[in-house]
Amino acid sequence: MNLTENRDILEIMQSDLERALKKPRAERRWAMAIDLKKCIGCHACTTGCMSENLTPPEIHYRPVKEEELGTFPNTGMRFLPRPCMQCDAPSCTQVCPVTATYKRDDGLVTIDYEKCIGCRYCLVACPYGARSADVGLYFTGDFRDKTYEVENSGEYGKRSKRTSHWRSPIGNARKCHFCIHRVEKGELTRCTTTCLSSATYFGDINDPKALITKLISKVNVMKYKEEFGTKPMVFYLT
C-alpha cells in the first residue's frame, strides 16, 4: 500500500502538523519514526540540529551512530540516528531531584533550565545517552561575542544567552526537544526537514490519519533499548 499517495512526505507531514496544532495540547502525542533502510548516514540531521539549536562543543542532540557490519567481502554500513526518545516512562524525570525535567501533557520530556541544579543524575539514568552536560565550552575559546556561541534558539519557548557559567543553560543538562519551538509555530523539526533521504518522520500519533501513525502500525517497527521499560516514542523502521 502506498502510504504517501505519491505526494511529497514533507507536505503530508506539514498538513498532519497543522491538523495536530488545532487540537488542545493534551490531546497530541508527538513521535518520530526513522527509516533505517533510507538513512544514508549523511549527518545532515546532526548538522541541521546543531545550527537550529546552536549547540556548544561536545553537545549533539541528534548524533548518528555508524556501524560496520559483517566481514569482507560481505560487509555493509548501518546508521542509527538517535534523538531524545521522549519516552512515555522516562527514567530521567523519575530521578531528577527537583522536577526540573518533566513530561508535558503532550508527552514531550522537557527541561526547565531555571530549575535545573546541574547534578547530572539524569545523564546517568538515561539509557540512550541522549543527555549532555553544558559545561560552558565555546567553539571560539573564550571569545564569547559570536552569535552562534551565545544565542539560543528559544528551546522550550525561552531564550537564554550563554554568556556566563552562572547563567543557564550553562551548568544544565541539555537534550533534543523535538524542536518544539518550531513545531508549535507550525514548522516541522529541523532534522525532519534536513534529512536528504526523507528517512525521518514526525507527527502526532494520536491522529489516526497522520502518516507517522500509519507507519508505526506496521510489523517492521522496533524501539531502541525497549527492555529498559522506558517506552520510547522514537520508532525505527527496519
Binding site: V95, R120, A125, C126, L137
Partner: protein, 382 residues
C-alpha cells in the same frame, strides 16, 4: 545555648592556642592542613570563578568524577563514625566513653566536608533551595537530601548531648537509625539506576553501609590510637581492633559477591568487572582488605592500628573513585570519535577540592583537640 566549650573551644584556651600558633608552636599537621585549606580554597575559587568547562574533567560521558566520589567517601566516613559510636557505646561502654564526643564530632565535620566537595560539582549549586520548593519524591537523590539533612541535625543534637553530659539511649538509637537510612539512600542513589548495570544492584546500599563502617571506623581508630598515646590508656585501642576486623571481613564478603555477580553477567556495562578483575582483586581486595586485616592480626600495637587504618582510608578513597567512575567506562551510545572505553583523570582543580575537604577535617579536628574542646565530655561521662 552554651556555645563556648560545646561548639567551639573555651575562649581563653582558643586565644592561648592562637598565640602559640603565631609563634610557630601550633603543631606541624595544623600548619600543613592550613596550607592545604588555602590551596583547596584556590581550587574551589577557580571552579566557581572560571566555571566547570575550564576547570574540571567531567563531561557528558563521565558526568560524575572525583568530587562526587569524594562526597561519597566523606559521607560514608561520617556514617562509619556513627556506626562506631553506636557499637562502641553498646559493647565497649567504659573503654569507648572518652572517645564518644570526638567520634560524633568527626562524623559531623566529615559530613560537612563531603557536602563542600559535592557543592563544587553541581552546575548550579545556588539553586539548592529547589529541593524544598520543587521536590520530586520519586528521586533517590531527593530522599538523600532529606535524610542527609536529618542526619546532620541528629548528629548535632547527639554531639551537644554528649558535650553536656546529657546522653540518652533514645538519642543513641536515633542517631544510629537515621544515618543507616541516610547511607542506604546514598547506596540506592546509585543502586536504583536500572539503566546502568555497573551500579544497578540491591546489594549496593548494604555495600555502602559496611564500606562506610570500615572507613569511618578506620578514622576513629587513628583518633583512638593518638588519644591512647596521649593519655597512656592503651585500653582505648581494644574496641577498634575488633571493630576494624569485623568491618574488613564484612566488606570482603560484599566486595567478593559484587565481583562474582559482575563476572557472571553478560549485560552491556558488566564487562567492566571482567576488565578490572585483576585491579579489583590485587588492590580492591588484597591491598584494601586482606593486608590491613593481616596487619591487625599480627601487629596488635599502636603502630599496627594506625598503619592498618591509614591503608584502609587511602584504599577506600580509591575504591569510591573506582566505584563512581568505572560505571561510565563503557559508553552508553558510542558515536563519532568516542573511544571504546572512556577514561577519566581528575584535573588539578578537582584534586585541590579533595585537598580542601581533607584539610578542613584535619584542621577543625586538630584545633578542637588542641584547645580542649572534648575534655568536658571526657571528664564527665554520660
Amino acid at each position: 545555648m552554651q556555645i563556648y566549650g560545646v561548639f567551639i573551644p573555651e575562649k581563653n584556651r582558643l586565644l592561648s592556642y592562637f598565640s602559640q600558633f603565631k609563634q610557630g608552636k601550633g603543631g606541624l599537621i595544623v600548619y600543613l592542613a592550613l596550607i592545604g585549606l588555602v590551596l583547596g580554597g584556590f581550587g574551589f575559587g577557580s571552579i566557581f570563578i572560571l566555571g566547570h568547562g575550564h576547570t574540571i574533567n567531567t563531561s557528558s560521558q563521565v558526568p560524575w568524577g572525583l568530587q562526587i566520589s569524594t562526597y561519597v567517601y566523606f559521607a560514608l566516613v561520617s556514617g562509619g563514625c556513627i556506626f562506631t559510636n553506636f557499637i562502641g557505646n553498646m559493647f565497649f561502654h567504659e573503654k569507648y566513653k572518652p572517645l564518644a564526643s570526638r567520634v560524633i564530632f568527626m562524623g559531623l565535620i566529615t559530613a560537612i566536608a563531603g557536602f563542600a566537595s559535592l557543592a563544587s560539582e553541581l552546575g548550579h549549586v545556588e539553586r539548592m533551595y529547589m529541593f524544598m520548593i520543587s521536590p520530586n519524591p520519586t528521586s533517590p537523590m531527593f530522599w538523600m537530601s532529606v535524610w542527609y539533612t536529618a542526619d546532620i541535625s541528629i548528629l548535632l543534637v547527639e554531639y551537644i548531648n554528649i558535650q553536656r553530659n546529657k546522653h540518652s539511649k533514645a538519642m543513641l538509637y536515633t542517631s544510629f537509625i537515621i544515618p543507616v537510612i541516610t547511607y542506604c539512600s546514598l547506596g540506592s542513589l546509585f543502586g536504583a539506576v536500572g539503566t546502568m548495570p555497573y551500579y544497578y544492584s540491591s546489594l549496593l546500599p548494604i555495600y555502602f553501609l559496611f564500606s562506610g563502617f570500615l572507613s569511618g571506623n578506620a578514622l576513629c581508630a587513628i583518633i583512638a590510637a593518638f588519644q591512647s598515646k596521649t593519655s597512656g590508656n592503651m585500653r582505648l585501642l581494644k574496641p577498634f581492633f575488633r571493630m576494624q576486623k569485623i568491618a574488613l571481613a564484612s566488606v570482603f564478603v560484599l566486595t567478593f559477591c559484587r565481583i562474582i555477580i559482575g563476572l557472571s553477567s553478560n549485560l552491556t556495562g558488566y564487562e567492566v568487572f571482567r576488565e578490572t578483575f585483576f585491579q579489583n582483586v590485587i588492590f580492591g581486595i588484597g591491598g584494601a582488605l586482606v593486608v590491613p586485616f593481616i596487619i591487625l592480626m599480627y601487629k596488635r600495637t599502636f603502630g599496627g592500628l594506625v598503619l592498618s587504618s591509614l591503608l584502609v582510608l587511602l584504599t577506600q578513597f580509591m575504591a569510591r573513585l573506582d566505584l563512581v567512575v568505572e560505571g561510565f567506562r563503557v559508553p552508553v551510545f558510542r558515536v563519532y570519535d568516542m573511544p571504546e572505553r572512556i577514561s577519566y583523570f581528575p584535573s588539578v582543580f578537582e584534586i585541590l577540592v579533595v585537598l580542601a575537604s581533607v584539610s578542613l577535617v584535619a584542621l577543625v579536628y586538630l584545633i578542637s583537640e588542641k584547645t580542649g574542646l572534648f575534655e568536658i565530655a571526657g571528664k564527665g561521662g554520660h
